[in-house]
């Protein structure tokens, strides 16, 4: 083994953990898992799937109503277009009828 490697082994050798380390780790585990600290997240965890379900349902309802509104607007626009065409046709026919009546009136003695 080279001197550098031997020196690295000595320098980086394992050292004992400081006194009271294990007790501090165990205390931190107790704190972390105590219900007082984690009650908020525990509640979130318990209600996670119902919340996801409710969110998905409200999203679906929202999408449905939005889609219905879009369809209604499109139908209204179509109806308005048809109404304009009908008015145009009716106007043309009335105009023709008027001209026919005037023509007949001019021919009569």
């Amino acid at each position: 083994m080279e001197p550098l490697e031997r020196n690295l082994r000595r320098l980086l050798a394992r050292r004992p953990a400081p006194p009271g380390f294990t007790a501090r780790v165990m205390a931190s585990l107790d704190n972390e898992t105590s219900p007082a600290k984690s009650i908020g997240w525990a509640m979130v965890g318990r209600w996670r799937w119902p919340m996801v379900g409710a969110l998905a349902a409200s999203l679906a309802v929202g999408v449905y109503f939005q889609q219905r509104r879009v369809e209604q607007v499109a139908a209204a626009e179509r109806a308005a277009g048809q109404l304009l065409i009908s008015l145009h046709i009716a106007g043309t026919k009335i105009n023709k009828a008027r001209q026919a009546v005037l023509r007949l009136g001019g021919e009569s003695p």
Partner: protein
Amino acid sequence: MNTAPRTLVDAALRDPGAFEGIVDRHKSMIYSLVLNFFQNRAMAEDISQEVYLELYKHLDRIQSDQHLSFWLRQAVTRKCIDHARRLKHRRYQPLEEIVEPGIEPVSGDPFLAAILRGKVAALPDKMRMVVLLRFQEDLKLVEIAETLDMPVNTVKTTLRRALARLREKVPHLEAEVCYGTART
């Protein structure tokens, strides 16, 4: 079927108090890895605690006592590298995270020990971890590769480069240096 013994883990799953046995058995390895990586006692203790907390949450995933050592080693190396990455993005460094000069009392040549420690600390994160796993944990290249999730050839190259860097930066280390630290 996995028939490897899982005595420590089974005991801890039955009785959370038995988790203390796991902490006791591996604390030197975990604490030293973090301490050698950051050269900071406060960080060594904090990160070690995080590792044990993670283990506590995922204890049921441990397949054997041997797997437990591997899992802990992998968890601590990942945490060290992640933490080092986060530190680089920080604009300031809290006082407690500043590298402590002479973290261990030395009985040999403290000057050379400090130089070598500084050079190891200056290595890139992954390279430093490879050096630690090789010289602190005495792991084989294959084991280092598994721990760091790297190809064996990459580990071999990384280690060779790390030693070359240390050698070129500390040429006078050919002389024996006594550091006065013993494996526990």
